[in-house]
Subunit: 372 residues, 2 copies
């Protein structure tokens, strides 16, 4: 039932921070049809945690993480475009990462996995396109971490994309975002069940630390205003009470969740802990901290060399993790680079995650750009 395909990377695949990966693969899914000129491909990168399943397929009818944005007649129109979404290198949904088997030892890489950079995610994503006979993308698109990846793509792969869409991304991790991610990683690594990365499998791994990391993530992905209108100071509902009962096995009476917002965090964390490998989380989180477009040169000069025809930068005013000022800065650099740039400043209240929630606004912005 899985629609996931894998593309082999050049072997070995040299990494941005040094070292290389043997026998590495990148998992991807695709929608639509590649045209004869192989010129209508859109490469979509994800945020930190999603799989390549951005939309349902005949083989996997589960809704994807951007279901309403991808399909026939949708903002990313599969009647017009061949869309590829990849699972990031370093992740755990089919692409090679710390949870994969190291062919040299036959055991999982774990912390012996070499450091992964945002640049490696961009370059390995491009290798997927190349494996399909595509030399140049019609567009590269990415939200959140994916927004960083499209910046890295522009820097590392000049001429390989005609258009770029950055959504709530970043050209260089801010000290505020670094601080938050370092605390998330510390929560995972402080959990004795992490065992210095040597847990046997995620379900016997640092679940408590991963819960904390994900709850903190969830807090930073939304906004105080949204939660005020959504939860106010309501007590736990039925769903929350179930979560509280789970939690009560871990904390003494009276110290578990009392408020609806706590039940929501609990449910989010529970889902995440079941699916995401802790070491992969650490690697991708650190990669985000380390990304800095200016390490490639003066940003507008780097972007001028990228050969882009046009760009769309989407930012959300209530996003406090990847601030609207960062988005405006990216748009300004693209503009300075001579790229025909649109900046969509969206007044959504859902914060960083708005691209997953406030679909009408994102549909309009992306549709307008891709079909211009």
């Amino acid at each position: 039932m899985s629609a996931v395909k894998t593309a082999a990377l050049p072997n070995p695949f040299a990494l941005w921070c040094g070292g290389s990966l043997p026998d590495a693969v990148v998992a991807y899914e695709s929608w639509g049809t590649l045209d004869a000129a192989r010129s209508n491909a859109i490469l979509l990168f994800t945020g930190l945690s999603p799989t390549a399943h951005a939309a349902s397929t005949p083989d996997n009818r589960d809704p994807g993480w951007w279901e309403q944005m991808i399909g026939p007649g949708r903002a990313i129109d599969t009647d017009q475009y061949f869309v590829i979404c990849i699972n990031s290198l370093g992740s755990c949904f089919g692409s090679t990462g710390p949870a994969s088997i190291n062919p040299a030892t036959g055991a999982a890489w774990r912390l012996d996995f070499p450091e992964v950079a945002v640049e490696d995610i961009a370059r390995s994503g491009y290798e997927v396109a190349r494996s399909l006979g595509i030399d140049q993308l019609s567009a590269v698109v990415g939200p959140s971490l994916g927004g960083m990846v499209v910046m890295a793509f522009a820097a590392c792969l000049p001429g390989k994309a005609r258009r770029l869409v950055s959504i709530s991304g970043s050209a260089a991790a801010s000290p505020f975002a670094i601080a938050l991610r370092s605390v998330q990683r510390e929560a995972v690594m402080s959990d004795p069940d992490w065992r210095g990365g040597q847990y046997v499998n995620p379900l016997q791994g640092p679940r408590a630390g991963m819960r904390i990391a994900r709850k903190l993530g969830t807090i930073t992905y939304r906004s105080a205003d949204e939660w005020r209108s959504r939860f106010a100071r309501s007590g736990l509902g039925e769903r929350g009470l179930r979560a509280a009962q789970q939690a009560s096995t871990r904390v003494p009476k009276g110290f578990g969740p009392r408020f609806a917002v706590e039940g929501y965090l609990e449910a989010q964390a529970e889902r995440f802990v079941r699916i995401f490998d802790p070491n992969c989380y650490l690697y991708l989180s650190r990669a985000m901290d380390c990304f800095d477009l200016s390490s490639h040169g003066e940003p507008s000069e780097v972007l001028a060399r990228a050969g882009l025809e046009s760009a769309l930068v989407i930012g959300v005013e209530s996003d406090f993790l990847f601030s609207i000022d960062e988005q405006a800065w990216i748009a300004a650099q693209l503009d300075k680079a001579g790229v025909n740039t649109q900046f969509a400043r969206l007044p959504c209240i859902e914060g960083h995650d708005a691209f997953l929630v406030d679909l009408p606004r994102f549909d309009a912005a992306v549709r307008g750009f891709l079909n211009a």
Copy 2:
């Protein structure tokens, strides 16, 4: 060398959420001289973690947490006022709390300590004033948690304060703040060294969890803009490298701090873990979540009954934990209650902690109000 005095509370001291405390005391320090009419006293409540040592004294020359605001000729002028600062009930710096000895058992209360409410901090603080022969305060003043406490004071003790100063406080914990604090508490309680609250002493207690809680606190007490200008993406300095060396005993190579902001968090956490009792932290954190002025009645009616002559509400635009909208709302309720209210909307970039850092702005606002 300690200037800390203690006042015995009425025995037993009935608590807001039910139950009572035997033989409870509140620690306090004081500055200036009470006038003959006993009418010049200012009662100062603290944020979550400080001691009653708000300013240096002849007996303890260490600078206090609000050193530059309290003293002869200062914004809170000890030539004019008799100033009392209390350590919150439930804390661990001389006041009765979960780390204190339960007289019934001879052992520390730990989680047998009854639930403490913000209202109890207000009422026990007033008992300190009463023990000094003061019936009515010239002003009650509080930042952060202290700002919640002065709201509770107005609700619980009508006629007992002529003026009120709320600084970056809250009339009801927001779901965003609740979410953050619940994650902080979870970090402490997930640490196996917490041992269900039965750790032997804080230094053998949940240090890893407390580090995470404090780091997250520090992140929410400042602002992204401040950190951008202060740290940018600098690497670890000399101080940070020392912190990293400490951290490296806990995390594998390559996963410890790399950026200046991480070294800063490390230093903040290290300081906090050495001095603050984890169970006391849990109790006070939860008390903040549960505070809601509207549980006393319609807020402006509650405040109208408080008998206040005037009020000053100070808010900081960059504070995302206790947002400027919350401060404006408090000021509006006071105004609606018929209290002569000033609202100082300060453009500091230091976030919630600005009252500890941007002293000139706070000096001007507080001085102008108290000497009007």
